[in-house]
Symmetry: C2
Subunit: 457 residues, 2 copies
């Protein structure tokens, strides 16, 4: 057993008790009343990094909740990795559904129950303890490491992009490892190859300048709801394909190898449907469910409203109708261009008799896809394979992790998600927990990862 593993073993109890201490800070980034707690969590992380032997440790302002930075850069000729995580948490309500108070962590049956246990304090703490173990037991790390822990992930990291852009030199690295993520299952590892991007368009249709009596004017002037549904229905065909011209143009097709990779991942349709509770799956023809959610873009109407929504009937010809649309994008789509194409389609589809206004929301997020032969990814895969004795599934996320694209854009570095959460750990829900076994396995994994990264030049 290596010396860092011995150190981890000897300090097991201490690390767990420190994690409980960390979890007692209610660092809810969404609630202004907890801004001081987010700051306290930053101070806790700062102090803990210093204690671990990490250098240049400091809290840096972002304009919102702060970030904590630290580094250890004494491995010349070796790669530099940035390790990312977040010390803020989701809100804890509804409180009455928790079996124990969310910020009074409890260990039960090998699990730590607390808000933030899995997402992300438990996972964030793993590489920190590994760094300490290596520094304290061997005096050094096998590679150069920078830590970037932030306090606003749960509110969408609004100030992270300008922060990264403004600190390119400080954060420069060869690759990023994100401690914010999980594995496929307790038995089977997974590696996230890609996340989808996002583009959003808002649509307002104005008919008459006030609500009208549908008897008096019905049939003679355009109903904005009719115009809206005509426009919206034209965005897909009956089978679910997006009909916006050029929408799929830049979509990188799945290679035969990628298709085969996805096909070997277990998929049980009844089990899959049990979560959404839909009557069936439905989507773009010619693609599997994983392909649809991981490798194909969507155009989703997130909300629609207009006219009378109350009880009973109100025979109104309404003045306005509205919709919110967002698209999940895949490599190599560009959110700005997609918003433009959707807007153009809407303009063309708009029937006469109404005014159509199209709004954009922010600049969107780029999709992210790591090359399958990325050096860091291959090393991460070898570590996971040795630990789980199984080849990791190469999965993707249908969701959007803006940080991945930000690191790529500003630092020219790909991100490998290397976290040890599991799907059943009630992230964002009452009774969130983290497995002590995952904590230990994660420590071993990060130790092996740093070692193997140090073996290459």
């Amino acid at each position: 057993m290596s010396s860092w593993e011995n150190y981890l073993n000897e300090n097991k109890k201490k690390f767990i008790s420190e994690l409980l201490e960390f979890l007692r800070i209610p660092s809810i980034s969404a609630l202004p009343a907890h801004a001081g707690d987010v700051q306290r969590a930053a101070q806790w992380v700062e102090a803990r990094l210093k204690k671990a032997g990490v250098e240049s440790v400091r809290i840096l302002p972002t304009g919102g909740h702060p970030v904590v930075y630290g580094d250890w850069l004494h491995a010349p000729g070796k790669p530099t990795v940035l390790i990312y995580g977040h010390f803020d948490t989701q809100p804890a309500d509804p409180l009455n559904l928790w079996d124990s108070p969310p910020f009074e962590p409890v260990i039960k049956d090998g699990r730590i129950y607390a808000r933030g246990a899995s997402d992300n304090k438990g996972n964030l703490f793993i590489p920190l303890t590994v760094a300490e173990s290596m520094i304290k037991s061997g005096g050094k790390l096998p590679i150069n490491v920078k830590f970037l822990f932030e306090g606003q992930e749960e509110i969408g990291s609004p100030q992270l992009q300008p922060f990264i852009a403004a600190h390119k030199d400080l954060l420069s690295c060869d690759m990023v490892f994100s401690a914010d993520g999980g594995q496929w299952s307790e038995e089977h590892p997974g590696l996230v190859m890609g996340t989808r991007g996002l583009a959003a368009v808002f649509l307002d249709v104005q008919g008459p300048d006030h609500d009208l009596h549908s008897g008096t004017f019905g049939g003679a002037v355009a109903n904005p709801i009719h115009a809206l549904v005509e426009i919206l229905a034209s965005l897909h065909d009956h089978e679910g394909r997006i009909t916006v011209e050029g929408f799929y143009e830049r979509v990188r097709p799945l290679t035969a190898e990628e298709k085969a990779e996805m096909a070997r991942i277990p998929y049980d349709e009844a089990e899959y449907l049990s979560e959404p509770g839909s009557v069936s799956v439905f989507g773009e023809p010619g693609f599997s469910t994983y392909e649809r959610t991981w490798a194909r873009p969507t155009l989703e109407i997130n909300g629609i409203w207009g006219g009378f929504q109350g009880e009973g009937l109100k025979t109104v010809l309404p003045s306005t109708a509205h919709a919110k649309i967002s698209c999940r994008l895949v490599a190599d789509q560009d959110p700005g261009q997609i918003a433009e194409l959707v807007a153009k389609h809407i303009e063309k589809a708009a029937p006469p008799g109404v005014k159509v206004t199209i709004g954009r929301r922010g600049s969107g997020s780029f999709p992210y896809l790591i090359p399958s032969d990325h050096r860091g990814l291959k090393i991460a895969a070898s570590v996971l394979k040795d630990l789980y004795r199984k080849e990791p599934y190469r999965i993707r996320s249908g969701g959007t992790i803006p940080a991945n694209a930000m690191f790529l854009e500003h630092l020219k570095a790909y991100t490998i998600v290397f976290g040890f959460g599991l799907e059943d750990e009630r992230l964002h829900s009452p009774n969130e927990f983290f497995r002590l076994s995952s904590f230990e396995r994660g420590q071993k994994a990060y130790g092996m990862l740093l070692e193997r990264l140090g073996e290459v030049g």
Copy 2:
């Protein structure tokens, strides 16, 4: 000058002061707190009918606000007409927009300002004063007259249908004259030939059983808003025609004569559009605006909602989406059949992956169209022509007056709208008023009408 005209002249001030008294009763049928005032208005009408010499006067219960009945049936061999009106009013809010309190009538520049002045107390009072004038001055009416004044018109007369059905003998008549209506303009008379009926269908689409993350599931399960807009968009073509199979089947086509009648009614598109404030007219190709609103049916989406409607973006794949649809019907469409056809269309149009539930609201209302050679209509036309020195426009109403169809169904009697309101009198709005000139002209018109009805056998 006939004796009833002399009587009207001599009692002019008294009648106006009585009308002001009537208008002081805040008989708002929609507000439970005013139920006692509706009852007081019924008592006022009851007493006033008795004083006029009308017989069998009584307040009759309906289960809701009452009706007042009275008759004078001493003209054997002469026709029997039922005169309809309502003594309830709309609510008066917003009160701050009134120049004088709504239930403290004020006479200014030849107009009585008060809630209910035109709709319908002023108009209701006209035939009552005429009956008194004839009875008091000549001892009799030229025909048999029944009065039916109700107290729930402004809330849609929910109990009138069962009331009429249960009192067929009491109310039996040759024709109905409704004092609830108006003329084309101060200079030009109009006769309402038809009103549109109504059928309503509610539509609920269920996708997943709870709102989903649009990243995780977007693309793999059906979005109920997509299904809803696809269904709704299929109900019309791009030009505004209704595409529901069989929808137009029973629509009575306009005759060349009816088209010519409508074509001679003044129409200024810019002026017409100033009220709705729409950018242009829009509707079924091949028909004029009057034809579209008077003689063609509609299918109108009155309300739509689903998913996120708040500020900003929420990338949700929503659980449900909803719409309320109502159709304005024309002769000879049947509301039950139309609801059935729309429901069938929706079922056929529904895409896979969602559950669609279709609801019906009540039994609908039948459209109404009086034959153009109806005897009473012709007499009413002759009266208006002599009074205004202009041939009345034969207009229709795009709205729904359920009473018309009810009288036809239960009493086998057509209704002729014979009222003297004008479009600018702010019905249902602050500062409602009624012209004293209309009051006088209406009295003359009702007197002539009763006389001429008595001249035929």
